[in-house]
């Protein structure tokens, strides 16, 4: 089988290509590419950068999984951004208001986050199955709306608390926090474990369960799935809700492991990064993990470039090139592979008897 080639070759090619192109960009801007790359890699071993990278990758990983679930059903859930932010603010408000014993408090917050993410994803899902509204359009709209919802909810008149110049939700009690794992000079999010479990569950669902099969079948060919007794509408609805549910967890590592309050200044754009990471990882749970780590590495180590007077935006350029070339590389390898497979079938059969139309039939 050539599966290792289809799986590994495209991202490797894309990364090599991106490194080369970024080197050109670096040379044009008057920097030494080797020195720049060296500084970025060197940064990994300084202070808590490595731990920060894994922490950030955890967030990207959840976001990537959320997007990938949609991709399996041919849904482009751009709305992970809106879903996770909506879920974060709702979960933060609920978590701050709750007085529960440890563990149960955490579980309650996570449940609220999942349900809130699903609820926010239910809007485009229902619009899609009942009215045929493209999920791309409706989720973009909902992404824009969520900023207003957050501003409203964490206003001091509603659930917000003013702290200095910042305004945020009430701080979650220690019982509702997920303890970190001290590692070197940093602290690893305890949520890393939960994220890994979700990744494993995603893999199991996709490859071992009937539901996963129906989801993939429906995503590949709605018509064939329908003839096989799979309702595309039902799959669209469930996939969108699941995607929203996982999206609901995206902000949880930071909320329950570091910030304990969701403020107006909370980081945005994780949802969009998730799209890039899912593309990079080809919707495979392992691939998404690698993609998330790579992305997080570029983000955290880019800061070091300023020490050698190189603009840190070079990392953003690299990220962009990687995604573009990964998409192109996968398509090229996929086509080459199918042709190779057909040739292989042809060769294997030619040995038995002359290969002719009589053998192959339709043209």
């Amino acid at each position: 089988m050539t599966s290792w080639r289809t799986k590994l070759l495209p991202p490797l090619l894309a990364i090599v290509f991106a490194v080369l192109l970024s080197a050109i960009a670096l040379i044009i801007s008057g920097a030494d590419p080797l020195q720049a790359y060296g500084t970025m890699i060197g940064q990994m071993f300084k202070g808590s950068t490595a731990v920060d990278t894994v922490n950030l990758a955890t967030v990207y990983y959840l976001s990537g999984l959320a997007v990938a679930i949609g991709f399996q059903m041919n849904l482009f859930n751009i709305g992970v951004e809106g879903q996770y932010r909506f879920a974060a603010v709702v979960a933060a408000i609920a978590g701050g208001a709750m007085k529960l014993p440890p563990v149960i408090h955490v579980i309650a917050i996570l449940l609220v986050a999942v349900v809130a993410g699903m609820a926010y994803a239910a809007v485009p899902a229902i619009l899609k199955v009942t009215r045929g509204v493209s999920e791309v359009i409706s989720t973009i709209m909902l992404n824009a709306i969520v900023a207003g919802i957050i501003a409203f909810l964490i206003n001091a008149d509603q659930f917000g608390v003013q702290r200095g110049n910042n305004i945020g939700t009430r701080v979650i009690e220690p019982s509702g926090r997920i303890p970190g794992i001290p590692l070197g000079s940093g602290t690893l999010f305890g949520f890393v474990v939960i994220a890994a479990l979700i990744g494993a569950a995603y893999w199991f669902m996709l490859n071992r369960t009937r539901f996963g099969f129906e989801l993939k079948a429906s995503g590949e060919s709605t018509t064939a799935a329908a003839a096989g007794g799979v309702s595309a509408k039902k799959m669209t609805l469930i996939a969108m809700l699941l995607s929203g549910g996982v999206a609901g967890l995206v902000a949880m590592p930071e909320l329950l492991g570091r910030d304990y309050s969701y403020g107006i200044t909370a980081t945005q754009m994780y949802g969009f990064t998730g799209i890039a990471v899912a593309l990079l990882g080809r919707n495979h749970p392992g691939g998404i993990a690698l993609g998330a780590l790579l992305w997080a590495f570029l983000d955290t180590s880019a800061v070091s470039l300023e020490q050698i007077n190189v603009s840190k935006e070079i990392a953003t350029i690299m990220q962009g090139i990687i995604v573009l070339s990964v998409v192109v590389a996968y398509e090229i390898v996929r086509r080459a592979d199918l042709a190779a497979e057909q040739r292989r079938v042809g060769r294997a059969l030619a040995g038995r008897k002359g290969s002719s139309v009589a053998e192959g039939g339709a043209v």
Binding site: T209, S221, G228, L338, R343, S356, E359, V363
Partner: protein, 523 residues
């Protein structure tokens, strides 16, 4: 084959040939679609290209129209050798193609459709309209240039396609199965137009597998079998039987079922099944009632587009009927109303389904064969256990199908798209006959497959029938229908209009019943 070779020399010489193909060979991964095809079309004639589905007609025409380059061989137009890299080259050489599936934009007018992409010739103003009027006159297109295409019927759309290729300066026109979508009167009108245009100096390549039409219109007929030309003949002197023999060769597998295995136990009972059609007040299915018994093959004959697809999809639960009931009777004689059941429930109740378009409805093309084995059976042994898939079971059962149904593949891990049509279909038939179905709904089960696969599929259906399976067979291949069926019902405009006994009916009689010309018509 002596009958085939003999008339070959009888083709009259009409000067420099309009089209001359020499030694054309085209290979696709795994198959040779055309091998050493030689074809000479004289100027000003109607030259029919005959052959079964999958014989390589379409590939040959795609090569001539520049859509695919040949691997070997040469093409000469009006005596000059040309290289056709794309359809633009072909159009420049004076070749036009009227596709079986029209390439027209519904939301544009007739004029816009014709001018689109050819604005450089006469602009889009008065000169263009004058040219269009002239061509419309010549081809018998009566629709006004400003009519929206969506308001036109099929016959008029076809004329628009013809005008379109003429407008681009075509003198050699390829008609790809032009009659498949037409009713008999429209066919006659089309043939009149073709004859008139032939007199005006145009050359036609007429692709068809309908022998009576070929004999009615063609001056010369070339037969293609298994990707190569087997002979050229004069349709005026050759008999239909000789032509058919050329098309299928001597080793024609016979679909005949020997003794009747029909029992009196009903399996599928339809009563008054009605299905409304979108955007039309005529029902797609109108009061359809019939019963299929265990051990019986019920054949549905009909010109395509008369409701057969809708009938199958309604029985499979992919369309919701507006009236009537569908009942499935189990082995104990217990009738179960499945009118409201979903597709999966119907499949679980024991309906196997061979869809008419295997790539759209039966296969996940990029998935390996064993994953395709699960499709439609995801709730049942041996491929699933409860909510989980049984991958080992699915693989083992796929191995069994590959072995028993002679699916030519190097393994069960290759994607379905890598197999040829015939082998894909064998896999599907094997899958749908797994799990002890009580009813098989087979829609064009041997369409576009090679003769070997055809014989095997027929044999499997026959064996299953002998074992008590009820089969609903929809086919456009009349020989297949007559040979396999125990009862034939004819479908016309969504209704079952007449019944035929396969033991006595001829394809000709069936053909006229299908077009509503026969007797026993309810209308």
């Amino acid at each position: 084959m002596s009958t085939a070779e003999a008339p070959a020399e009888a083709v009259p010489d009409r000067g420099a040939p309009a089209v001359q193909l020499t030694g054309i060979t085209k290979r696709f991964p795994g198959v040779v679609a055309n091998s050493d095809v030689n074809l000479t079309v004289a100027a000003g004639e109607v030259h029919a290209i005959c052959g079964e589905n999958g014989a390589g007609k379409s590939t040959l025409m795609k090569i001539l129209y520049g859509m695919q380059p040949p691997d070997e061989g040469t093409i000469a137009i009006n005596g000059e050798e040309v290289k056709l890299r794309n359809p633009q080259d072909a159009i420049r050489a004076g070749i036009g193609m009227v596709h079986q599936h029209f390439m027209l934009a519904d939301n544009l007018t007739v004029g816009e459709n014709v001018f689109l992409g050819a604005e450089g010739l006469h602009g889009i103003g008065r000169a263009a309209r004058a040219r269009l009027a002239e061509l419309a006159e010549r081809t018998g297109l009566h629709a006004k240039p400003e009519t929206l295409l969506e308001e036109l019927g099929v016959a008029d759309r076809q004329r628009v396609e013809i005008v379109k290729v003429l407008y681009r300066g075509a003198k050699i026109i390829i008609l790809d199965e032009p009659t498949a979508v037409l009713v008999p009167q429209e066919v006659d009108a089309l043939f009149d137009t073709v004859r008139e245009m032939k007199a005006g100096g145009y050359t036609f390549l007429f692709i068809s597998h309908k022998l009576d039409e070929v004999r009615a219109i063609a001056d010369t007929v070339t037969v293609i079998r298994r990707g190569t030309t087997v002979g050229t003949a004069d349709p005026k002197t050759i008999t239909s039987r000789q032509l058919a023999e050329m098309m299928v060769g001597s080793e024609l597998p016979s679909p005949e079922t020997r003794e009747s295995t029909v029992t009196d136990r009903a399996v599928l009972r339809l009563s008054g099944l009605t299905l409304g059609a979108e955007g039309s007040d005529r029902n797609a299915l109108d009061d359809v009632s019939f019963t299929v018994h265990a051990g019986e093959v019920l054949g549905i004959a009909g010109v395509e587009g008369n409701g057969q697809t809708e009938l199958v999809e309604t029985i499979m639960g992919m369309r919701k009927p507006s009236g009537g009931t569908i009942e499935l009777v189990d082995a104990d004689g217990e009738a179960r109303d499945i009118t409201k059941a979903g597709t999966l429930a119907r499949r679980e109740a024991g309906i196997g389904y061979i869809a008419e378009d295997r790539t759209r409805h039966s296969l996940l093309l990029t998935q390996p064969l064993w994953v395709n084995r699960i499709l439609g059976y995801q709730t049942r042994e041996p491929v699933s256990k409860g909510q989980l898939l049984d991958i080992a079971g699915a693989r083992a059962d796929t191995e069994r199908i590959v072995r028993d149904y002679d699916v030519r593949t190097p393994g069960i891990d290759v994607p379905a798209a890598a197999l040829s049509g015939g082998n894909q279909q064998k896999l599907i038939v094997g899958r749908e006959l797994s799990g002890n179905p009580v009813l098989l709904v087979a829609s064009h089960p041997t369409r576009g497959v090679d003769v070997g696969a055809q014989a095997l599929i027929w044999e499997q259906i026959r064996q299953a029938r002998a074992a008590g399976l009820a089969v609903l067979l929809i086919s456009a291949d009349l020989d297949e229908l007559i040979g396999l069926s125990d009862t034939i019902r004819v479908m016309l405009r969504g209704r079952l209009v007449s019944e035929a006994d396969p033991a006595t009916v001829t394809p000709q009689e069936l053909g006229s019943a299908m077009t509503g010309a026969g007797e026993g018509d309810e209308e």
